[in-house]
């Protein structure tokens, strides 16, 4: 594995970074989709997130990333399981992965050698409490995407195969990326991602120069480059930790719920998922902001990424969905 590019050294792509940070603070957001041009650093940004998140505590040697039971800790039992600190998993789902590797399957080795029926956990178990990243999500088999979204929504992986009947918790943030020119995602799947961002090539020359400069510096000396950004990474990491701790304490005023409802009504999004996601995202953004309550600016910042992909598609409307969200925001005429 090559060294990871620091998250804080990524130039531009604010919306994508914001969406990923929100998902890191509020995993219930239900996944992030980053769709856009080639060579815009989608994969780099998502992989960089792994370096940013603080280590988590797990029961040592547990294949399911089980957190230590606080009751065990308090009891002071001598035979309580050992606890290890591991980095938050960012598990890559390689294209072409078979279903058995994703959900887990019969442990072949043990079955063949001892005839024992044992469960071998799959990628979903490894991704528990972390991130599951699928590059080129639009090229993944539909039935696998369906399965992943089901597990992501329920937080539980249910395996019924080869005479095994197993269920284990699998709460992870699904991050998908892709290029719309290679085929689009079915609307049913699109709708199930919590946040969606469109990634574009930076147009400013200065930005492009900076991107190239940093990338070359990183490739020339990965360790030195990481060291140079260690402080910035620590600050950002701290911000995420604080936001996670403070999330429950961030108030959501009724006025903000109303604003979200009006916005969704105005845009004609189907179902209530849009509103729910919008409020959750705005709240997480407020927590990252260090605010005590969700404000108009938080809702405004979260609206495009929470709603864009939920709009009814009108193939004959030339204006992009981002523009439509902007228009709806402007129509509500609220001061941020």
């Amino acid at each position: 594995m090559s060294a990871i590019f620091p998250f804080s050294a990524i130039v531009g792509q604010e919306e994508m970074k914001q969406a990923l940070l929100i998902a890191a603070v509020e995993p219930r957001i239900g996944g992030v989709l980053a769709f856009g041009d080639r060579g815009t650093g989608k994969s780099t940004t998502i992989r960089a997130l792994a370096g940013l998140l603080p280590a988590m505590k797990v029961v040592q040697g547990c294949a399911f990333n089980t957190p230590p039971d606080p009751a065990d800790d308090a009891s002071g039992d001598a035979d309580r399981p050992a606890v290890a600190e591991v980095p938050v998993p960012v598990v890559d789902l390689p294209l072409g992965a078979t279903e058995d590797r994703v959900v887990g399957a019969l442990d072949l080795e043990r079955a063949l050698s001892s005839g024992e029926k044992a469960f071998e956990p799959g990628l979903l178990a490894r991704a528990h409490r972390g991130f599951l990243y699928i590059d080129e999500v639009n090229l993944l088999e539909d039935h696998l995407v369906d399965l992943l979204l089901d597990v992501a929504a329920s937080g539980e992986n249910v395996v019924e195969r080869e005479g095994l009947s197993i269920r284990h918790p699998a709460r992870f943030v699904l991050v998908g990326s892709g290029n719309p020119e290679e085929g689009e995602l079915r609307p049913q799947l699109l709708d199930r991602f919590g946040l969606s961002v469109e990634v574009r090539t930076p147009q400013k020359i200065a930005t492009r120069v900076e991107v190239v400069k940093r990338r070359e510096a990183f490739e020339d000396d990965p360790e030195g480059f990481r060291a140079a950004y260690a402080d910035a990474e620590a600050v950002l990491s701290e911000q995420v930790v604080k936001a996670r701790a403070g999330l429950a304490g961030v108030a959501v005023p009724d006025a903000m719920r109303e604003l979200a409802a009006q916005l969704c009504l105005g845009l004609g999004t189907d179902g209530l998922r849009g509103e729910l996601t919008l409020i959750r995202a705005a709240r997480a953004w407020a927590a990252l902001d260090g605010a005590e309550a969700v404000g108009v600016r938080h809702v405004k910042a979260a609206a495009p990424m929470a709603l864009c992909h939920r709009l009814r598609r009108d193939p004959l409307d030339e204006a992009g969905s981002a523009a439509r969200v902007e228009r709806a925001l402007a129509a509500l005429d609220v001061e941020g």
Binding site: M1, L95, V209
Partner: protein
């Protein structure tokens, strides 16, 4: 500066004319050999033949001895590409044994892809993932393994024309795009870089620095030429640094930047800046006078300007005149399709795998090794007691794969863009295509569009299910001119044949008034044109392609109906063809095909 055959001027950047496509490809080979993984690779458009072999021999002579160089067969399965279960070893050892894939075996070396234009999207995605993460991740067959891979890719693109090409996701990551299709064996010359120079440069190029202005000039030029992906700029910067190292310098000079532009940025250009034409003319033949500014480093502002123009001139020299004309005309260069499906196994047993079942190995059924082993696993202790060998697999255990046959369709629109009614007709067809595509991803169907007018038919939109791609292709579709119906039917039939070879079922939809007035060889004459069209229609029918002919003329005439009958098509007079009606008719026909 490198001495390249065909160099116009002896020294200095002014006369930088890189000469032939061959010399550029030879230089690309040298740079690639210096850092295969860093540059990602080379896309070389060339048919198999002596020229391509000469290039490969040149590359082989430059990369250090002992570097693995492997060919990737086109139809490679994932088990060989990524690694998988080694069946023989597994059965003899009684436990799963992992076999490394071709990519892992090529670590530190070069992977050669012949016929890369037929690479399947899935294989391309695996290659891309390996280039990005520098590792191969295998998660299949109940096994998992990760192998470090640093590899460079040589993609031999055997495509013809702009519609056939290596998948974009891959070409974007490969630094050098060379075209040797017009190069004859006589133009092949020995390379100017030696293996020793390559080794020296490989050791020191990381220490070469590129000053701010050079970096900025490259990025600006990339934006000017419409090279949207940042990777273009990144790879150009790297090429400039390596070029300086090859010349034993520690700082990048303008000449390196100019060369890097020619090698990396020029082939990626999707647009050409609007400049005064006469200025471009001078750039073609002789160095523009502005370039003289380069020598005086007094003020930076005009110097920047001059550098940009120098780079532009360099880029221009590297582009064939035809491409240049296309770019200047504001036409987006046809980028390689999203990976052609390649030669799929043609057998009754293809399609989407939908699981396995217990079954006999006959009729070409494909054994699912893993499921079979799984089925056998629980019985091993019992069978061992019965005195069998390590892993006992019996006929009962056999599990065969089941597939669901594809019912995917590709709707090929052939739209008559001739005459005065063309504009409204075209806009309605565009609407219909978009409507069909908007619902296509529900059914995973694809749409293609041919337009015919004047003397020929043109593929406007290769088969796609991407609305984004379609919208871009459909914007600014020209109309007017004669009606070369025969040519259009031929083109549609050819596309249908290609489609069928790749798996999906083609449906041809013609939107015309049936008034053919251009013959197959491009001449006028109504009766000959009509005869040609009827002959072409009969051939389409012989292929067994389902067709629909929508007669869009204000007063339906017998000619259109006659052609529809000749091609065995449904005939539908729609004097006011609107998008909804067209979409509906196509949907009906497609449903008929599926049923």
């Amino acid at each position: 500066m490198r001495d390249l055959p065909g160099d116009g001027a002896e020294d200095g950047p002014e006369g930088e004319d890189l000469g032939t496509a061959w010399s550029r490809a030879a230089l690309a080979a040298a740079l690639f050999a210096i850092d295969p993984a860093g540059f990602g690779g080379v896309v070389l458009r060339a048919r198999p033949g002596p020229v391509r072999e000469a290039w490969q021999a040149l590359l082989q002579g430059l990369i250090p001895a002992g570097t693995p160089m492997r060919r990737l067969p086109l139809g490679i399965g994932e088990d060989r590409l990524l690694g998988g279960l080694d069946l023989a070893a597994t059965l003899s050892a009684g436990k799963p044994v992992v076999q490394r894939g071709v990519m892992a075996d090529t670590d530190g070396g070069v992977l050669v892809l012949p016929g890369s234009e037929r690479l399947s999207p899935a294989t391309a995605a695996h290659l891309v993932a390996a280039l990005d993460t520098k590792q191969v991740a295998m998660e299949r067959d109940g096994l998992q393994a990760r192998h470090r891979v640093r590899l460079g890719i040589v993609a031999f693109d055997e495509g013809v024309g702009p519609d056939e090409g290596t998948p974009d996701a891959l070409t974007d990551r490969l630094a050098f795009h060379c075209d040797l299709s017009g190069v004859g064996i006589r133009q092949v010359e020995p390379g100017t870089v030696t293996a020793i120079e390559v080794m020296r440069a490989a050791a020191c190029w990381r220490t070469v620095t590129l000053a701010g202005e050079g970096l900025e000039a490259l990025c600006r030029l990339a934006a000017t030429l419409g090279v949207h992906s940042i990777r273009g700029s990144l790879l150009a910067v790297r090429a400039a640094r390596v070029l300086a190292a090859l010349d034993d310098r520690r700082a990048v000079e303008e000449a390196d930047i100019a060369l890097a532009t020619q090698l990396v940025l020029a082939p990626r250009a999707t647009q050409w800046p609007e400049a005064a034409p006469e200025q471009e003319e001078t750039a073609e033949d002789e160095p523009p006078p502005e370039d003289r500014n380069l020598s005086d480093e007094v003020d930076s502002e005009p110097n920047d300007q001059a550098l940009s123009e120098l780079l532009l001139a360099a880029a221009k020299a590297a582009l064939p005149p035809a491409v240049l004309a296309q770019l200047a005309g504001g036409v987006r260069r046809g980028q390689g399709g999203g990976g052609k499906a390649g030669q799929l196994r043609v057998s009754a047993l293809r399609g989407r795998p939908i699981g396995t079942r217990r079954g006999e190995l006959r009729g070409g059924a494909r054994l699912s090794v893993i499921e079979t082993l799984r089925a056998a696993a629980p019985w091993q202790p019992v069978r061992r007691r019965a005195g069998e060998r390590r892993v006992a697999v019996r006929r009962d255990d056999f599990r065969v794969r089941r597939f669901k046959d594809r019912t995917e369709t590709v709707t090929i629109f052939a739209v008559d863009a001739s005459g005065s009614a063309a504009l409204t007709r075209l806009s309605e067809v565009k609407g219909a295509v978009e409507l069909l595509l908007a619902e296509a991803y529900r059914r995973r169907d694809q749409v293609a569009l041919l337009s015919f007018r004047g003397t020929g038919a043109e593929l406007i939109l290769p088969p796609t299910r991407s609305l984004v791609r379609a919208k871009r292709a459909l914007a600014g579709l020209p109309g007017g001119g004669g009606t070369p119906l025969a040519t259009a039917i031929d083109a549609a039939a050819e596309l249908a044949r290609i489609t069928r070879r790749q798996g999906p079922t083609p449906i041809a939809v013609f939107l015309t008034d049936g008034k053919a007035n251009v013959t197959r060889d491009g001449h006028g004459g109504r009766s000959q044109a009509m005869d040609d069209a009827l002959a072409a229609a009969r051939r389409l029918r012989a292929d067994g392609t389902d067709a629909l002919l929508i007669d869009a003329s204000p007063r339906p005439r017998p000619q259109a109906k006659a052609i529809a009958e000749a091609m065995g098509a449904r005939y539908l007079p729609l004097p006011h063809a609107d998008r909804q009606a067209v979409a509906l008719a196509v949907r009906d026909t497609a449903d008929g095909v599926r049923a």
